[in-house]
């Protein structure tokens, strides 16, 4: 038989593919049938692209571990990744994953503006959807209280609630507060929730200024001038992306935090860019649901941080934990639904198994509440320079559970806050 260029290339390609197969893979993997396909929706462009990248990296780390250990019920897992962008296009990508790629479940979703549209589509298509960071809240109120297929992230305003509680604990004597957040629902909702909580602990506190610059703004000169002029005792800031780093740099240039305290509810999302030379000690800093340097962190967290740093030359932010939890809880639910059998369970059985399930995630034990909302811990603390890094960390580390900082299912946020006995 004559060897043509094309057949030669085909042979080389097949050889290369065969060379990548692990010979020490466990027997279950080797005998497995078709791979189980999981869809992943993640942001890949724009200001939230680093958040999306962290979620995908967390999922890929989980994937490697699971496949090395034989997959789920002996089936290797394969990811089909699509982009989260605007609601219209993301709904189309979601439909593609379910209808065209025939995935068993969809993981991901970060922006609530998008996931509000995804929720009803997930319910219609009858495939489990486990959201990393997106909710189906309109403002601070739930729009899908009894979903069947949609599993949603922790309420958006929880980190502001935790920050309100910790402001009262760590910054006693605060009389006036200024607030700055991005000009979209998250920024406004966090500010409202923070004020409501702080008011409960410190009834005579006054909120003297609120600023809502557009998401993506990089010049805060005029905002900082207004904040200085307000002479507030404390600045609350809910920035979560590179703008947190930028405002801290510009604040350092005008010595803002020499006369003012600061509570950065979510800046831990970009924690390793908060360098010591412009981020002072003594700020309240929130890391959302995972603190990479948690002294009480599990062996799993330490291994993840080590390998993440080795692979990407940076330390992991919280989105990795949301993503890991979603994937791991799906695996646990499939195994629970199979009840010892190797037969792949129906999707409806898997979603029933997901309800209330608890697994070990990177940040510790996490679970799904019965109404399909993440239950987890939030990590915040006071910034310190006493660490081996060139950026700030926190000490003490305050851990607050969603059992105390998230409104219970079926309640209205502000009614719930106002019902607290303090």
């Amino acid at each position: 038989m004559r060897t043509t260029r094309r057949s030669f290339l085909r042979l080389v390609g097949a050889g290369a593919a065969a060379a990548t197969v692990r010979l020490d893979a466990p027997p279950a993997f080797a005998q497995a049938g078709h791979p189980v396909k999981l869809g992943v929706l993640t942001i890949r462009a724009g200001i939230a692209a680093p958040v999306g990248a962290a979620g995908l990296r967390g999922t890929e780390w989980w994937l490697e571990r699971v496949n090395r250990a034989g997959g789920i019920l002996g089936r290797p897992v394969q990811l089909v990744v699509e982009e989260e962008s605007n609601p219209k296009d993301t709904v189309e990508r979601y439909r593609k994953l379910v209808l065209q790629d025939k995935v068993e479940a969809v993981l991901g979703g970060i922006s609530t503006g998008v996931t509000l549209a995804l929720g009803p589509v997930a319910e219609d298509l009858g495939t489990p959807w486990l959201s990393w960071d997106g909710t189906t809240q309109k403002g601070v109120e739930e729009t899908m209280p009894n979903p069947r297929w949609a599993f949603k992230s922790v309420d958006n305003e929880v980190e502001a609630i935790v920050a309100g509680m910790l402001t009262a604990r760590h910054f006693k004597g605060i009389k006036t507060v200024a607030g700055i957040g991005n000009d979209y629902s998250y920024g406004h909702d966090c500010w409202q929730a923070y004020q409501a909580v702080l008011k409960r602990y410190t009834p005579d506190v006054k909120f003297v200024l609120e600023l809502f610059p557009k998401l993506g703004v990089t010049d805060f000169t005029s905002h900082l001038a207004a904040i200085q002029q307000s002479r507030a005792d404390l600045l609350m800031c809910s920035f979560w992306s590179g703008d947190a780093t930028i405002i801290l740099k510009q604040a350092a240039a005008v010595d803002l935090f020499k006369t003012m305290k600061g509570a950065f509810t979510t800046a831990g999302g970009v924690h390793d860019s908060l360098k010591k030379n412009f981020t002072p000690e003594g700020l309240l800093l929130g890391y959302n649901t995972m603190y990479f340097d948690d002294p009480k962190g599990s062996a799993l967290l330490k291994q993840f941080v080590r390998e993440y740093k080795a692979k990407y030359a940076e330390y992991p932010p919280y989105e990795c934990d949301h993503a890991y939890f979603c994937a791991e809880s799906y695996k646990a639910a499939v195994e629970k639904a199979a009840a010892g059998s190797t037969k792949w369970p129906e999707k409806a059985t898997v979603v029933r198994a997901l309800e209330g399930i608890e697994v070990e995630s990177l940040s510790g034990r996490r679970s799904w509440r019965e109404d399909h909302v993440h239950m987890c811990n939030f990590y915040q603390g006071i910034t310190t320079h006493k660490n081996p890094y060139d950026f700030v960390t926190i000490d003490p580390v305050e851990v607050v559970s969603t059992k105390v900082a998230m409104k219970p299912a079926g309640t209205k946020l502000f009614d719930w806050i106002n019902s607290w006995k303090i």
């Binding site: 609601p87 219209k88 189309e92 439909r95 593609k96 009803p120 219609d124 309109k138 629902s185």
Partner: protein, 318 residues
């Protein structure tokens, strides 16, 4: 192959698609048909009147938000009422905007339309309590021809009744636009495009005709916007953002603004090419942009221009 035969085959394939094509591809036809309606209108302004609008997402947004308000606030579910209301509101908004814009041409017209588009975008983004801000508003499932079809799963509803409803609206919009561009009014618009001074000399009210074309194109865009709402089920400000305006201008260029059906072809190729490239590479914007740029460079008259040019080449060679 004659144009009529191609058109008949395309229409036949579109009618048969829900019966033979995978559901996902059938659902992708919905934004195609919505954009196609909007592009027929845009091309009356662009291809036939010579005015390039960079703000037509405003009217897509007006149509989509009209549907969202009617279904979720006023509990009006009739798609016919939604389409009529969208068209009326589109015309109402376009009347003053057009009156100001058509006094200018070329880049000044383009920039003014862009400015009005961004004013509307900012309005829907900032008036949170009214429009839902960045979270948008739900566009609940509308009834079609008085039938609620509530029992049908949403996917079946979209791939069945709603698909044929959208197709009927597209066919109707095409017939009406065909009549418009082949009427004396359409001829006047082409005269204005080619030589506004001569048109003025001939007694054609240039500003008035341009304004009429602007309002008609806005009505088409608003109807297209209303059709875009139900498949997503939620309407948000990104529908009215300037990138949407850019996309629809690009679809027109891609298909060819010199041809009546060029923009429709452009919408089809844009949507399916984007879908394919998005699934193949993570950095799809780079690849997609390069492919589109290559198509436009290789075919300045758009994809329809390639097909239309062939007979004249054959004629000259013979």
């Amino acid at each position: 192959m004659s144009g009529r035969l191609v058109l008949a085959l395309a229409l036949g394939a579109t009618v048969l698609a829900p019966l033979v094509a995978p559901t996902y591809h059938v659902l992708l036809m919905l934004p195609f048909m919505a954009y196609a309606v909007a592009l027929l209108g845009l091309n009356l302004l662009f291809g036939y009147t010579g005015l390039v609008s960079f703000g037509h997402a405003l009217f897509l947004g007006v149509g989509a938000y009209t549907g969202a308000f009617l279904t979720s606030v006023f509990k009006v579910r009739s798609m016919e009422v939604i389409l009529v209301a969208a068209a009326a509101l589109g015309a109402l908004v376009a009347a003053p905007v057009g009156a100001l814009c058509v006094r200018y041409v070329k880049i000044y017209f383009g920039m003014l339309t862009l400015a009005f588009g961004m004013v509307f975008y900012t309005f829907v983004l900032k008036f949170y309590r009214l429009t839902g801000g960045d979270e948008g508003m739900p566009f609940l499932r509308p009834t079609l021809l008085g039938r609620s079809i509530e029992g049908l799963p949403k996917t079946d509803y979209l791939a069945g009744p709603y698909y044929y409803y959208s197709l009927a609206v597209l066919v109707l919009a095409t017939l009406v636009m065909w009549r418009i561009v082949h009427s004396p009014f359409g001829l006047c618009l082409k005269t204005i495009r080619d030589n506004p001074t001569k048109a003025e000399t001939l007694g054609i009210g240039v500003a008035r005709y341009r304004w009429c074309a602007f309002v008609i194109s806005a009505v088409y865009a608003a109807v297209g916007g209303a059709l875009l709402g139900p498949p997503t089920g939620n309407v948000d400000p990104t529908l009215a953002y300037w990138t949407q305006s850019g996309n629809i201008v690009f679809m027109t260029l891609l298909g060819g603004f010199a041809s009546f059906f060029g923009p429709v072809l452009g919408a089809f190729v844009f949507i399916y090419l984007q879908d394919w490239v998005m699934s193949v590479v993570p950095f799809w914007r780079l690849i997609f942009g390069a492919i589109l740029a290559a198509i436009v460079i290789a075919a300045p008259g758009g994809l329809a221009g390639l097909w239309v040019r062939r007979p004249s080449v054959e004629a000259s060679s013979s």
